[in-house]
């Protein structure tokens, strides 16, 4: 996994709650035995018309936002199927971070999706509902606005015309380290092979 570096990129918003992984990548695009080539399939039912042409109203087809690197959605993003293809599609499109709101017990991201993102160097950022509302308002006024994500500092900054909007976010310390250092989970776990063998011996 590549190290997660601080970056500045275009922000694009898909103003919907409960975006499921069938919407992120419809199943007709799952029939691959490879880990690459999913970027073109991201949001394909919303992004393309039936004849395969672009739907010009969809945010990723607009000239200002088609090269976006930060995605903003509403709550419970990535619910449904565990297909990691959804994360591969988001990453291979070019996104490096997703922002969604958490309100009390109502999470920004579904569990399996959030886990899958972490395994692929895609940062999931939870902000408050008020903050995400504010971001959507800015996106509406200033399509193509840029944002900077600084994982080390745990901030995302929206570079609005009226001035920078800076938001701090929380992240689990272990995930932060893994992303910043680009660590491979399997290699990390295999350090404990003796423990695994001992567990197996005890439970046989």
């Amino acid at each position: 996994m590549d190290k997660f570096e601080k970056f500045t990129g275009i922000v694009a918003g898909v103003d919907r709650a409960n975006i499921d992984t069938d919407a992120l990548i419809p199943k007709e695009h799952l029939k691959s035995i490879k880990r690459t080539g999913f970027g073109a399939a991201l949001f394909s039912d919303w992004r393309y018309f039936d004849d395969g042409s672009d739907n010009p109203d969809f945010v990723l087809n607009k000239p200002e936002t088609k090269n976006a690197e930060i995605l903003v959605t509403r709550n419970n993003c990535g619910c449904g199927s565990s297909r990691e293809h959804a994360v591969w599609a988001v990453v291979q499109y070019g996104f490096k971070a997703i922002i969604a709101p958490r309100q009390d017990e109502n999470p920004g991201f579904a569990d399996i999706f959030r886990n899958n993102c972490g395994k692929n160097g895609l940062l999931t950022i939870e902000l408050s509902e008020v903050q995400v509302d504010e971001i959507f308002q800015t996106l509406e006024k200033e399509p193509g606005v840029q944002g900077t994500v600084d994982l080390a500092a745990q901030t995302v900054t929206l570079h609005a015309a009226s001035g920078d909007q800076v938001y701090s976010f929380d992240i689990a310390a272990d995930l932060k380290t893994k992303l910043l250092e680009g660590l491979d989970d399997i290699a990390l776990t295999l350090q404990y092979e003796a423990d695994i063998t001992a567990y197996e011996a005890e439970h046989r």
Binding site: N18, D22, S82, E105, D174, D195, I196
Partner: protein, 467 residues
């Protein structure tokens, strides 16, 4: 200290504490299918790693396989590549495979229980969100992504943080015609599709204790539709009888089984154990449920109507509007006035023998309404054989339905079984997402009995009035 059922199983599988609340959790059973595994096997190969416990790993092809006569000669080249890759990957790593054409092939979550692969007290994972199904045995079972599939293949463990405990108690007794499917759809409509996020449900109460294993499997299956990765039911005599019955090749037998059952009796929630969340649902007056929208939480009683935009607590008016536009429905429409064109009976939610029996019992001697297409897809080849032994296939065929071979089929429409644009379907599956059963297709989730009744009437009906 008092522990929950979940805590007991979790604690027994901790290999090592990793800090930051993360543990290395041992995995007893790893179930594998053709769609989410090829990239994991490839990753393993590229890193020069081996499958650590092929004896604990079981595979089948289910997601993309045709369920008609053509199934042995898959013509879709990409689907065939996935099936071939799984065959090759299992052969080179000594993983047990139930291939297409094998008597034990079927939907992975149907065959796990059926073959005795999944047992009480185990940890079970699969690259599929409906792995929650297996929690019905009193096991911790949850879905994982492909990176985690590779991690389990290589290490037989996962790095995990413990979820919270969420108790869902179903009190009372179901009325005739009301089923486990209605119980879980009701739960999801109450707490929404994110209500169980970061939690493991324990389903308990009188209405769970009296359910068959099939019914418990249906409820645990849809835990994920309420956002929870896992849902558990404490094992009891019904569980033990299920494990001891039938031809469960991988389950313990004889004295071994007696010993195992003694051990399994420790898996229950202690008096006074702490739950982070608790919810009680009384099922005495529970009505059959039908979904009207594009999220499993968008459901109502069959006696109800499509709600007003601002009358759905877990969804914003904009979400409801978008769902209704997609579904081609308007607020105020009575659910029983909604006409359907297709009926799908099957899936890991409702593709077990009991589900087919319930649908067949209703449809026996009746005819599928003019213009309605009905697909009955057994969850496994073993279910198909049993159904044919009981002549259920004849009942469905004589009613005008199609009787298929086992597979996921129209639940996710990765094979040729798809809805057309705007085609409306009564489905016993688990997801009514946009495009789930085919681009533009409109899915209403119901129980097998309700699906059978809709097939005959051509629209939804209150099954209770038909009994």
């Amino acid at each position: 200290m008092s522990k929950t059922l979940f805590d007991k199983i979790w604690d027994a599988h901790v290999v090592k504490e990793l800090g930051n609340d993360e543990v290395l959790l041992y995995i007893d059973r790893h179930l594998v299918h053709e769609v989410t595994s090829p990239q994991a096997f490839e990753g393993l190969r590229l890193a020069g790693r081996k499958v650590r416990r092929p004896d604990c790993t079981f595979a089948t092809m289910d997601h993309n396989v045709p369920t008609d006569e053509s199934r042995m000669n898959i013509t879709d080249p990409i689907a065939k590549a996935q099936v071939d890759a799984l065959t090759e990957n299992c052969a080179t790593t000594s993983v047990t495979l139930f291939p297409l054409g094998d008597d034990r092939q079927g939907v992975i979550h149907i065959i796990g229980p059926e073959q005795g692969i999944v047992l009480p007290g185990m940890t079970v994972v699969c690259g599929d969100s409906h792995t929650a199904t297996h929690g019905a045995f009193g096991s911790i079972a949850f879905g994982i992504g492909t990176s985690e599939v590779e991690h389990v293949l290589a290490t037989q463990t996962l790095r995990q943080k413990k979820p919270k405990n969420y108790k869902v108690e179903f009190t009372g007794t179901l009325k005739p015609g009301v089923t486990a499917k209605d119980m879980v759809l009701k739960l999801i409509s109450i707490i929404g599709t994110a209500g169980g996020t970061s939690c493991a449900f324990e389903f308990c109460g009188e209405a769970i204790e009296t359910l068959s294993m099939e019914g418990r499997l249906t409820i645990c299956n849809m835990a994920i539709e309420a956002g929870a990765r896992a849902g558990l039911v404490a094992p009891d005599q019904i569980t033990f009888d299920y494990v001891g019955s039938g031809n469960r090749v991988y389950a313990p037998k004889g004295d071994e089984l007696v010993k195992a059952i003694e051990n399994w009796k420790q898996f229950y929630t202690d008096e006074g154990a702490h739950f982070d969340h608790e919810l009680t649902i009384d099922v005495n007056d529970l009505a059959p449920q039908v979904t009207w929208g594009t999220s499993p939480g968008m459901g109502v009683d069959v006696t109800g109507e499509v709600p007003a935009l601002d009358a759905v607590p877990e969804y914003s008016p904009a979400d409801v509007r978008a769902a209704l536009d997609y579904m081609g429905l308007e607020p105020g429409t009575k659910m029983t006035d909604i006409e359907i064109e297709t009926v799908f009976i099957g899936s890991c939610t409702n593709g077990r023998i009991e589900d087919l029996r319930e649908a067949a019992e209703y449809i026996k001697g009746k005819k599928v309404a003019e213009g309605v297409r009905m697909l009955v897809v057994p969850g496994s080849e073993a279910v198909r054989y049993q159904g044919e032994k009981e002549r259920l296939d004849r009942i469905f065929i004589e009613a005008g339905a199609e009787w298929r071979f086992a597979g996921c089929s129209m639940c996710l429409a990765m094979n040729a079984d798809k809805l057309r644009d705007k085609e409306r379907c009564a489905s016993t599956s688990n997801r009514n997402f946009e495009g789930r059963q085919g681009k533009g297709g409109r899915t209403h989730l119901v129980s097998p009995k309700m699906a059978a009744a809709a097939a005959v009437a051509g629209h939804f009906v209150d099954i209770r009035e038909e009994l």
